[in-house]
C-alpha cells in the first residue's frame, strides 16, 4: 500500500478506469468513484467544513468527472491530480461564494492541521499520503506552511492571504512558491 510501485500501479489503474468511463463504461466509473470519492469528499469537507455541502459538492464533482472523462489527458498529469483539482476548485468556488455569510476560524484551522489528521482517525480514512504530507509539512518554514495552508484549505487567493497576514504581496507569493516547491521535493511528486 505504501510502496511506490503499488501507488504507481494504482495511478495507472485509475487512469485506465477513467478512460473506460469516457467510453461510457459505468462499471469502470463505479470503481473510479470508489477509489476517488474519499479524497474528493475529504477535500470538500476540509474546505467547506459542512458535511452536507461537502456531499453535494462530491456529487457535482463525480458527475463532472463522468461527463468530462474524455478530457482527461494522462500526459498532463495523473487521474488523481485531475480529480483532486476538480474537487478543490469546486469546493473553493463554493466557499468563495458563501464566504460572507459564514464565520470561519481560519487561523485555528491552520494550527490544528497536523493534529486533526491524527485525531480524527475514526472519521478520516488514514492513508499513506497523510503521514508523508504531515512529515513533509514540517520541512517548511512556519510562514511558508501558514501561507500554503491558508491558500489551499481556506480557499483564499494569495492576495487574501497577504491581507490576512498583513504581509506584502511579493512576500506571500514567494512563501507560497518556495513552500509548495519544498513540499513537492519532499513528496517526490512528478
Amino acid at each position: 500500500m505504501t510502496t511506490s510501485a503499488t501507488s504507481h500501479d494504482d495511478a495507472a489503474r485509475l487512469a485506465s478506469l477513467l478512460r473506460a468511463s469516457a467510453d461510457g463504461d459505468q462499471a469502470a466509473f463505479a470503481q473510479v468513484y470508489d477509489a476517488a470519492s474519499p479524497m474528493v469528499y475529504g477535500t470538500c469537507l476540509r474546505v467547506l467544513r459542512d458535511p452536507d455541502l461537502a456531499a453535494e459538492t462530491l456529487q457535482d464533482v463525480m458527475l463532472e468527472a463522468w461527463r468530462t472523462a474524455a478530457a482527461f489527458d494522462a500526459d498532463r498529469g495523473s487521474a488523481k491530480a485531475w480529480l483532486a483539482t476538480m474537487a478543490h476548485r469546486r469546493a473553493v468556488d463554493r466557499v468563495r461564494s458563501v464566504q460572507a455569510t459564514r464565520t470561519r476560524d481560519e487561523q485555528d484551522a491552520v494550527r490544528s492541521y497536523v493534529r486533526e489528521v491524527d485525531e480524527v482517525s475514526d472519521e478520516v480514512l488514514r492513508r499513506a499520503d497523510a503521514d508523508r504530507v504531515a512529515h513533509c509539512m514540517q520541512g517548511l518554514t512556519d510562514t511558508q506552511r501558514e501561507s500554503v495552508l491558508l491558500a489551499y484549505w481556506e480557499g483564499l487567493t494569495y492576495r487574501e492571504v497577504a491581507d490576512r497576514l498583513a504581509a506584502a504581496l511579493p512576500t506571500v507569493k514567494s512563501r507560497i512558491r518556495d513552500g509548495l516547491t519544498r513540499l513537492r521535493l519532499c513528496l517526490g511528486a512528478r
Partner: protein, 266 residues
C-alpha cells in the same frame, strides 16, 4: 508569459511567478487564464505545473474521509440515466452525456428559436455598463469590505477576461422575480453573473443550465451571496444559451420550473 491586461494592481501577471498559487487555486480568474495559456505554450512550465498539481493532489489525498454511503447509489443512478444506450459503443465520443437525448428535459423549457427574447446583443458600451452599474462597488467600500469587494472584483475580472476571447458576446437581461443577469458567451466557456437576486425561498436554490442541442444540461446550483451569484461554465461545445430556474435544494437533473432568465447569443 506576461499579460498587460488591466488588473486590479495594473501589474502584469507573471505566469511563472504565480504557478504555485495557481496550483493551489489561489489566483483569480484572470490570473488563472493567463497562467493556463502560458502553460499551454511552454512545455517546461507545463512540466513544473504538473509536478505542483501532483503535490496538491497529495495534500487532497491526505484528508481523505468516508463520504455518506448513500451518495454512491445516487451518483451511479444519475450516470446510468445519462449513459449511452446499451449495445452502442462510443469509443471516440468526446462527452458521453451529449450523445443521448435527455428524456427528463422539460419540454416547455427548451428555448424557442430564434431564441433571442430578452437578450441585448453585444454593444461596445455594454460591458462597461454592466461592470459599472450592475456590479458597482465604490472604491471606499472596497476598502471597508474587502471580502465582498474581492468577489465583485472576481466577477468583473472573470467577465473582462472572457470578453477578451475571440467571438465573445455579452448578453444581459432582467430576472423574473427581481435582479439582473449578464453573461459573456464564448466558444467553450461562458461566465454568468447576476445581482440583486431575491432569496429563492426555503429549500430552494437557483440552478444554472446551458442548452445543448434540444435539452438543457445542468451547470450547477448557484449559491446566493448578498444577492449575487456568478459561475463559469465550461463545455466542449459552444455555449450559446444559458438559463436559470428555481429548483429544490441540491438541484435537479433537468429543469422542473420555467426559467427566471434566459440569456442567448446571436
Amino acid at each position: 508569459m506576461t499579460s498587460h491586461a488591466n488588473h486590479p494592481d495594473d501589474e502584469p501577471v507573471n505566469a511563472h511567478d504565480l504557478l504555485a498559487a495557481w496550483a493551489l487555486d489561489a489566483v483569480d480568474d484572470h490570473e488563472r487564464s493567463v497562467v493556463e495559456r502560458a502553460i499551454a505554450a511552454d512545455p517546461e512550465l507545463a512540466l513544473e505545473a504538473r509536478g505542483l498539481r501532483e503535490t496538491t493532489a497529495l495534500l487532497a489525498g491526505s484528508v481523505a474521509a468516508a463520504p455518506p454511503p448513500a451518495l454512491r447509489a445516487d451518483v451511479l443512478a444519475i450516470i446510468a440515466r445519462e449513459a449511452p444506450r446499451s449495445g452502442e459503443s462510443h469509443p471516440t465520443a468526446p462527452l458521453p452525456s451529449h450523445e443521448v437525448e435527455d428524456t427528463n428535459a422539460h419540454p416547455a423549457f427548451v428555448t424557442p428559436k430564434p431564441r433571442r427574447h430578452g437578450v441585448a446583443r453585444w454593444q461596445s458600451f455594454a460591458l462597461a455598463a454592466v461592470v459599472a452599474g450592475a456590479l458597482a462597488v465604490p472604491t471606499t467600500l472596497a476598502i471597508q469590505n474587502d471580502q465582498r469587494a474581492t468577489q465583485v472584483e472576481q466577477q468583473m475580472s472573470a467577465l473582462e477576461s472572457a470578453m477578451r476571447q475571440p467571438g465573445a458576446q455579452l448578453v444581459q437581461g432582467d430576472v423574473a422575480g427581481g435582479g439582473i443577469a449578464a453573461a459573456v458567451l464564448t466558444d467553450g466557456e461562458a461566465v454568468f453573473t447576476a445581482s440583486d437576486l431575491p432569496d429563492p425561498g426555503d429549500g430552494l436554490t437557483y440552478q444554472l443550465w446551458r442548452q445543448d442541442g434540444d435539452h438543457m444540461v445542468s451547470a450547477g446550483t448557484l449559491a446566493l451571496n448578498d444577492g449575487r451569484v456568478s459561475a463559469t461554465v465550461s463545455a466542449e461545445v459552444p455555449v450559446d444559451v444559458l438559463a436559470v430556474s428555481i429548483e429544490p435544494e441540491g438541484g435537479s437533473d433537468a429543469p422542473t420550473t420555467d426559467p427566471v432568465i434566459v440569456l442567448a447569443g446571436i
